[in-house]
């Protein structure tokens, strides 16, 4: 069976230890976490967690069931299986910007609609937001110029609303 990336959307009780339970579940049972992103929801008693994991169908089924079995977990949705969805990730990239490359970096930012959020005589720090494919493209193009540091948020995702009336 083929391994596939799945994006899971998880609502958990906003209690101490809830995140540790989820992280422990993955490490204890040998599941992968590719990325994990957590924040409060509109309801402050619930946290939302976007988790990207990979595995074959049986593993993913087990992951979802195991998550649901945790007492603190309120809801688990496999966004990947629920049809169309939007996904976004943000990265901050500190890139070398010497005399000869400064203009090129800015042009790249322009093309990819990135923002320059910090400037120093020798670097630009760029904010880039988009689906993972876009982040990957920007990173690949900036690599030859010289990336000094990179921080990524991990993926967040949301199901698309059905179109039409």
């Amino acid at each position: 069976m083929s391994e596939r990336k799945h994006t899971l959307s998880v609502l958990v009780e906003n209690t101490p230890g809830a995140l540790a339970r989820i992280a422990g579940l993955f490490s204890g049972r040998g599941f992968n976490i590719d990325s994990l992103c957590v924040a409060e929801t509109l309801d402050p008693t619930l946290s939302h967690l976007t988790l990207v994991t990979s595995g074959d169908d049986l593993i993913i089924e087990q992951i979802i069931k195991q998550l649901r079995r945790l007492i603190d977990v309120y809801k688990v949705v496999d966004v990947t299986e629920e049809g169309e969805f939007v996904e976004r990730e943000m990265a901050l990239i500190k890139v070398r910007a010497e005399k000869e490359t400064r203009a090129e970096v800015l042009r790249m930012c322009d093309i990819f609609r990135c923002k320059v959020v910090d400037v120093s005589p020798r670097t630009y720090t760029i904010e880039v937001t988009g689906p993972q494919s876009k982040l990957q493209a920007v990173i690949e193009l900036l690599k030859p110029i010289g990336i000094k540091e990179i921080v990524r948020t991990g993926l967040i995702a949301m199901r698309r609303e059905k179109k039409g009336t």
């Binding site: 089924e61 079995r69 007492i71 309120y74």
Partner: protein
């Protein structure tokens, strides 16, 4: 009320009659409150592991929630094996641990340990209480979570200042947890699908697991099997869920299961698994497990389904309610019994051939006492109690456990208590203490090995103190027998670290604790010694010297197909 008062009041409201525990600095306040609460009996153990196992044995034998109370730090860590044991076998236990005051948490204070962190993967859930006013809500939830759904241990960590703080007492009438809503009722369409599969199969086997016992579905299983004329096999945890003496029983399956149970499962075209989780000791090599069978799987825990084997009809629900539903369908369709019987006639003929070919067997000859002979004699002497459910047999882990599972006939649920999932040596004796506390009128017997009994032998003092007439039968072969057996079969008899150079004189040891010690070294001594033990009204330890190199057979080597059995 103080936190400690709230805790004790909550215990009363939950109907707790007995607690197994050990005091310490971080729980003195609760003990002070218990001092004034004669209606809750506290059993002072000799080691916290004993307390956890005793609470577990109490729960397994009564069906009620077992309760254990220990102090912070080492008191808490000593319960971890007991908690993991209960977790693996889905036993409802609530463990209270003391904790350093909230303001010291994280400071590496004296006797501080992050016990909620340590036990996160081996509890169903755990709580660290941070405010006294949260106590009633959390305590109520703890008991609720432990006993509902797939039962399991719940730990509540109680900082000292939370015990000393004051708050209003209230008792929530019901527990509502939005994130925890176990499904009890099966999906009717799935049950109908299961019924149709039963109607169209020719070689069915019912596989009874521990879930049948914890949900109290033993009568339903029996009715189902009898109406449809189905053969029934049991996992170790399922023994007693269907009568072992029933003509349709194939006994236990798996690594040390009967030849005919393993053959029936391997050749079946339909397995109806009820409250079993297809553990590796049951399936052997998964790819070769019941290759022709479709599988119907009833379980309250969705994670058990489709975890190890492919399931064709998953039924998520309480075993009892699911079987009730299935029986309703069966009664509605009202297919005549004759047709069912006819449908499985050839299958039963085949099973009978297997049964005759390799029954469970051993030979009692020569001067050595065979352990199987001891178990059979014990069964003969206690048969009435076994059939009426007036006995609880606990075991340790290893050969003693497997011989018991094979040769004692468990007819009633909750008559066998054994550490199935975790395989905890040292479980049986403290669990027997818990069982005897919960069942003062029943005969409680711990079947032990000379290795495992020494792992919690200190609880002899606890049993004496409480005047518990438990019978401990040590099948003494001077070896860590199960490991020795593996070394014999798979490691060319390199007996590494399995022979004890020093074994205590168990008779004298019993006497040192004030108990009765008996010994049998020759076959003809077995029956009189067992009789004497059973007639005794005291804690009795029977040291039976058995054939040192006797093995447990049949045996499916680990990781092999269940049809690749080593027979005697």
């Amino acid at each position: 009320m103080t936190g400690a008062q709230i805790i004790v009041e909550a215990l009363k409201r939950e109907g707790v009659e007995v607690i197994f525990g050990y005091p310490g600095g971080a729980v003195i306040d609760i003990y002070d409150e218990l001092y004034r609460t004669p209606e809750i009996k506290h059993i002072l153990v000799r080691h916290e592991q004993g307390a956890a196992h005793a609470a577990d044995g109490y729960a397994r034998s009564t069906g009620k929630v077992g309760v254990c109370l220990v102090t912070s730090g080492p008191g808490a860590t000593n319960t971890v094996t007991g908690i993991a044991t209960a977790y693996m076998d889905s036993i409802p236990v609530v463990i209270f641990t003391g904790q350093v005051p909230t303001k010291l948490i994280g400071n590496d204070a004296f006797q501080e340990v992050d016990i909620t962190g340590i036990t996160r993967p081996c509890t169903k859930h755990n709580f660290l209480v941070k405010r006294t006013e949260d106590l009633p809500k959390i305590l109520r939830a703890a008991f609720h979570i432990a006993r509902t759904g797939r039962p399991g241990p719940v730990l509540v960590d109680l900082p000292k200042d939370v015990q000393q703080g004051k708050a209003e007492f209230y008792w929530p009438e019901e527990v509502r947890l939005r994130s925890y809503q176990p499904v009890y009722d099966p999906h009717p369409r799935q049950v109908e699908k299961a019924y149709r599969m039963l109607e169209s199969c020719t070689r069915p086997v019912v596989l009874v697991g521990g879930g049948v016992i914890s949900s109290g579905a033993h009568e339903e299983i029996c009715e189902l099997a009898e109406r449809l004329h189905l053969p029934v096999t049991m996992t170790l945890m399922g023994l007693g869920g269907f009568p072992g003496t029933h003509p349709q029983s194939l006994g236990m399956l798996g690594m040390h299961g009967t030849y005919y149970a393993n053959m029936a499962v391997a050749n079946s075209d339909l397995i109806l698994a009820v409250g079993a989780r297809f553990d590796d000791r049951v399936t052997g090599k998964v790819d070769a497990f019941a290759p022709m069978a479709k599988i119907i799987h009833i379980d309250i825990d969705p994670t058990s389904i489709q975890k190890n084997v492919r399931v064709d009809v998953p039924i998520v629900g309480d075993c009892k309610r699911s079987l009730e539903r299935l029986l309703t369908v069966i009664k509605e369709v009202a297919r005549p019994e004759k047709i069912w019987r006819e449908q499985f006639k050839d299958w039963w003929e085949q099973i009978e051939i297997w049964k005759k070919r390799y029954p469970l067997s051993y030979k009692q000859e020569g001067d050595y006492i065979k352990p199987q002979f001891v178990i059979e004699k014990l069964y003969e002497l206690t048969r009435d109690r076994a059939q009426s459910g007036q006995i609880v047999i606990s075991t340790e882990v290893g050969q003693n456990q497997m011989w018991t599972a094979q040769f004692y006939k468990f007819d009633r649920p909750r008559t066998l208590i054994t550490s199935g999932g975790l395989g905890t040596m040292g479980f049986g004796f403290p669990a027997a203490i818990g069982a005897q506390m919960g069942n003062p009128d029943k005969l409680v017997v711990d079947i032990a090995g000379d290795g495992s009994i020494q792992m919690n032998i200190q609880e002899m003092a606890t049993a004496m103190e409480q005047g518990l007439p438990i019978k401990v039968i040590i099948l003494n072969n001077g070896y860590l027998g199960m490991v020795r057996q593996w070394q014999e079969l798979f490691y060319q008899r390199r007996y590494s670290a399995v022979k004890f150079q020093v074994i205590p004189d168990f008779v004298k040891l019993a006497e040192a604790y004030g108990a009765l010690g008996l010994r049998a070294t020759r076959p003809e001594e077995v029956e009189p010694v067992l009789k004497q033990a059973l007639e005794s009204d005291r804690l009795t330890l029977v040291d039976i010297h058995i054939a040192p190199e006797e093995g447990v057979f049949p045996m499916v080597p680990a990781g092999r197909a269940t049809t690749e059995m080593i027979l005697v």
